[in-house]
Amino acid sequence: MLPLMLIKRIRTIAVITVLLVASIVFKLTYNTIFMHQELVTLASELWQRSFPLYAPRGYIIDRNGELLATNEPTLSLYAIPYQVKDKMQTSVNLASILGVDQEIIFEKLNKKASIVSFHPYGRKLTYGQSEQIEKLSLDGIYLVQDNLRTYPYKEYMASLIGFVGIDNIGFAGLESYYDNYLTGKRGSLNYYMDAKGGLFPNTQSEIIAPSQGMSLELTIDLRLQNILEREMENAYLQYSADEVVGIIMDPNNGEILAIGNRPTYDNNRYQDYDQTIYNRLLPVYNSFEPGSTFKAITFASAINENLIDIDNDTYYDKGYEIVAGTRINSWKKGGHGLQTYLEVLENSSNPGFVQIARMLGKDKLYQYVKDFGFNQKTGVDIQGENKGIMFSYDNFNELEQATTAFGQGISVTAMQLVTAFSAVINGGYLFKPHVCKSLLSSSLMERVYEVTPTVVRQVISEETSKTMRRALESVVSRGSGRKAYVEGYRVGGKTGTAQIAENGVYVDGKYILSFIAGAPMNDPRLVCYFSIKNAHNAVQYGGTTVGPIIGRIIEDCLKTLGVEKNYEGIEREYTWMDTKTAQVPNFIGKDKKEVKSRDFTFVFVGSGNKVIDQLPRVGEMIPIGSKVVIMLGGE
C-alpha cells in the first residue's frame, strides 16, 4: 500500500491540476464568447484590404440642362507590392510609360504596404498610357476606374465653376463652394488578404459601389453666357484692357443668368496658370469706385423720399458746386445750365447730385446706401465675396456725402451694383443674388432641393421704381446713355466713368468704364452690368465705349429669350454727337424767294432781294434744322 501522506499530497496535485484546467476553460470561453465581437472587428481590420473606388462628382448644368462640368471615365494605377514578381523590370516599364524616374517607382514597389498608389503621375492616366500598361499585363499592377473632371466650355465660366484637385475635391469656384453636395460617396473593393499580401483562397471580394454626387443646376443661361463671353473677349482684346467684368441678372428674382471676367483661364488645365487668376471671380471679388452708375441709386432714394419732382423741379448747373470748401465741377465746362432733375440724371451732372445729397441729408443718404445692400455682402453663393468700402457714419461728412451721391469715395462690387440696380427697377425689392437654381439627383431626374428667391427687403416703393424706369430709359434715349439704345427694346441704364485710384491717389488717364442697364423698361427681364478697366485706345467715357456693348448684349439676349419688341418707348433724341447732317447748298446770287430748303431754317439780314453772302459757307456739313444766315443786298 502507498503511504497515506503520499496519497494526500498527490491528491493535492490533482486538485491543483483541476483548478488550472478550469481556469483555462474559463479563459478560453471568455476569449471566444465574450471577446468575440471585439476580436472579430480587430481581426477583420487585419485581414481586410480595400481598393478605393472613386465616386464620380455630380454634374453642373445650366438652367436649360446644358452640361457645364462633366466626368470622363479614366484609369488610375495601383500596385500590390507583394504580387509584383520582377520589381526592377516592372519599375523600368512603368517609368517609361508614366515619364517619371525609375527609382521612384522601384521604391514604391518595395514599400511594405498592401496597396500603393502613384500620386499624382499614376492617377487619371491618358488613354495611351493605360493602353500600354494594359498590354504589358504586369503582375500585381492594377488599373482602377477613376473619373476625370472636364469642363467643355473651358475659359467660359472658369472663374465661376472652378475646378477639382487630383482627388476630385473641389478647389475653387462652385466646385469648392458646393463640394459637399457634388462629391459622391466613395466606394470600395474589399477583399481578404493573407499576411504576405496574397488573396485568401475561398473568400469573396465585396464591391461597395461608389455613388455619384448630387448635380448642380445653375441659374446661368449658357446662351446668354456665350453672348457675354463674346463681348468680354472682344473688349478685352480690342482695348487691351486690364480687366473686363460682366454680369447679367434677372432683376425679378436675383438669378444670375451670366457672369464672368477677363482675364480668365482654362479650368481643365488650371495647373498652367497663376493662382491669382483662378482664385477669384472678379464681379464679386473686386470692389471699385462705381462712378456715375451709382447716381441711379441716389436718384431713386431722393424720389422715394418725395424730395424731387423729376419733371418739374429744376436745378441750375452753373458748372460747379462748392462743398465744404471744395469745388466740385460738372464734367461739361460751364455747366448744363437750367435743368429739370430728369435732365440732371440724363446729363449725369455732378453738381446736381451734390444738391440731391444736400436734400437727402446725412442720415437718409447713409440709410439708403445701406438699404440698397452696399458695404455688406450680398450673400451670393460664390466664394470670396467682397463687401466693399464705405465711409463710417462718423466720418460721413458733407463732402463725403456729396461724393458718395455721385459714386466716388465709395467702393462697391459689381454684384452689389447689379443687385441694387435690380431693386431700383423691379418695384423696389432687393433680392439675394444666387447662382445655384437647384440640386438634382445624380440621374438629373429628380429635384432634391430648389433655391427659392429671397427678398432681403423692399428699399423703394413700386411708384418710385416706376418713375426710375422712365428716368433711366430717358437716360438711354435722350441722355448720356444714348449709345446703348436698342430699337424696339426699351433700355434703361446709367453710364459710369470712374478714375482708378491706386494707393489712395487717382491715376491720370486710367479709368473704369462701365454701364449698367436694364431692359425692357416696360417689363424688366434682365439687368446687365459691363465694365472695362484701363481700356487703351478708347474714348475714356463709359457711355461711348461700353454703351454699344451693352446695347448689343441686351438686344441679343432679349432676342434669345424671345422677348417681343415694343415701340412705345421714349423716342430716341439725336444730338450733335450723332444727329443727321446735311450739306449747305449755295444760295449766293440767288433771289430771296429762291432761298428754300427742307433741311434748314433761314435768318435774313440786310435789305434787298439778292443773296450776297451766307453763313455757314457752301459745302459745310451742319445738323439738319440748323439756321443758315443769309445776307441780302443789291438794288
Partner: protein
C-alpha cells in the same frame, strides 16, 4: 490537425503543403512503436538501470554542446543527428531524471522529511539544468523543474521547505528572465500585448485574433485566416489557436476534455499502484505531460506569457511526440513485480 495548421506555411517553405503531414505521420508510427516498447519495459528494469540512463543522458547532453556535433535549430544547439534523423537529448534527460528521482525518493522515503536527504538528487538535477540552459532551452528546463518539484512534493518533505523552494524558484526565474532581454519582453508583452503589436506582442495578438473570431463553433475546417502567415509556427506552439479558430470553443473544449480524461486516467493509475517507485515515476511523467499541456494552452489563450512549449501529442515535432508516447507506454506497464 498538423496538416490543417501547417499546409500554408509548408507550401510556402518547402513547396509541399503535405510536408509536415508526411513527416508527422512517420513520427507517429515511430512514436506508436515507442509506446509499445515503453509498455513492455517493467518498472523494476528501469529502477535497476536508472543511474546508467541518467549517466548516458548527461553524456549526450555534453555531446550536443560540442561544436560540430550538435545541430543548431531555432537558435538552440539541442539536437543530435544520426543519419537522416535527429533528436533532442534533453528529452531523454527528462525521463531519466524523473526515473532517477522516483528511485531515490522510494529508497529514502522515510528520511525525506529532512532537507539533507533531498539535496544530493537536487544537485544532480542542477547539473542537468545547467547543461540544458547552455543550449539554451528555458522551456524544457521549466517543465522538468516543475515535474521534479511535483515528485518532491509528494514526499514527506515539510511544507515550509516548499515555501522556501518556491521563493528560490521564483527568484531564479526572475534572474533568468532578466538575464535575457527577449524573455523580459515576452513578460512585458504578456501584460499588454497591444503596446508593441508588431514586436513582442505580435504572437499573443495573432493568437487572440485566431481564437476570438472562432466563437462558439469556429470558422469551419480549413477556414482559418490566421494560418495564412499571420500566426507564426501555427503547426507547433500555436496549433491550439488554429483548432479553436476552425472548430470554435466547442472544438477547444473537446481537446481540453480529452486531455482531462487522460489526466484522470493517469491519476487513477497512480492511486491504484502499490509500488512507490512506480507511483513516483508515473507522477513525474504525468506532471511532465500535464505541465506542457497547461502551459501551452495557457500561452495560446494568453493566460501565461509566451514560452515556446508545444502541445503534447498534437503539435508537430517528432522527438517530442516519440518521447511522450514512449513515456505514456512506461506508465501503462502492468508489471509491478520487484
Amino acid at each position: 490537425m498538423v496538416y490543417e495548421a501547417s499546409s500554408v506555411w509548408a507550401q510556402f517553405k518547402y513547396g509541399d503543403q503535405f510536408y509536415f503531414l508526411k513527416r508527422q505521420a512517420l513520427y507517429a508510427c515511430v512514436g506508436i512503436g515507442g509506446f509499445f516498447l515503453g509498455s513492455k519495459i517493467s518498472a523494476s528494469f528501469l529502477k535497476k538501470y536508472a543511474n546508467y540512463f541518467l549517466a548516458i543522458s548527461f553524456l549526450l547532453l555534453i555531446l550536443v554542446l560540442i561544436p560540430g556535433v550538435g545541430l543548431i535549430r531555432g537558435g538552440s544547439a539541442s539536437w543530435l543527428g544520426f543519419g537522416g534523423f535527429s533528436f533532442q537529448p534533453s528529452e531523454f534527460l527528462k525521463i531519466s531524471l524523473i526515473i532517477f528521482f522516483a528511485k531515490y525518493l522510494e529508497k529514502f522515503y522515510e528520511q525525506s522529511d529532512k532537507i539533507k536527504t533531498i539535496l544530493p538528487p537536487l544537485l544532480i538535477a542542477s547539473i542537468g539544468f545547467i547543461l540544458i540552459m547552455l543550449q539554451p532551452d528555458f522551456g524544457t528546463c521549466m517543465v522538468l523543474a516543475v515535474s521534479l518539484f511535483a515528485q518532491i512534493y509528494a514526499s514527506r518533505m515539510p511544507l515550509k521547505w516548499f515555501v522556501i523552494f518556491m521563493f528560490t524558484g521564483i527568484f531564479a526565474v526572475c534572474i533568468l528572465i532578466l538575464s535575457a532581454s527577449y524573455r523580459f519582453e515576452r513578460i512585458m508583452s504578456f501584460i499588454d500585448p497591444f503596446q508593441d503589436p508588431l514586436g513582442s506582442g505580435f504572437q499573443i495578438i495573432q493568437s487572440l485574433y485566431a481564437i476570438g473570431p472562432g466563437g462558439l463553433l469556429g470558422q469551419g475546417i480549413g477556414e482559418s485566416y490566421q494560418k495564412h502567415y499571420y500566426l507564426p509556427e501555427p503547426q507547433t506552439d500555436f496549433i491550439f489557436a488554429i483548432i479553436v479558430e476552425e472548430f470554435g470553443l466547442f472544438g477547444g473544449l473537446i481537446v481540453i476534455g480529452l486531455y482531462g480524461l487522460m489526466f484522470f486516467c493517469a491519476f487513477k493509475l497512480i492511486f491504484s499502484t502499490k509500488n512507490i517507485f512506480k507511483c513516483y515515476m508515473c507522477l513525474g511523467l504525468l506532471a511532465l505531460f500535464m505541465i506542457q499541456v497547461i502551459i501551452n494552452l495557457g500561452v495560446v489563450i494568453s493566460l501565461f506569457p509566451v514560452t515556446g512549449i508545444t502541445l503534447p501529442l498534437i503539435s508537430y515535432g517528432g522527438s517530442s511526440l516519440c518521447v511522450l508516447l514512449f513515456s505514456l507506454g512506461l506508465m501503462v506497464n502492468k508489471n509491478e513485480q520487484e
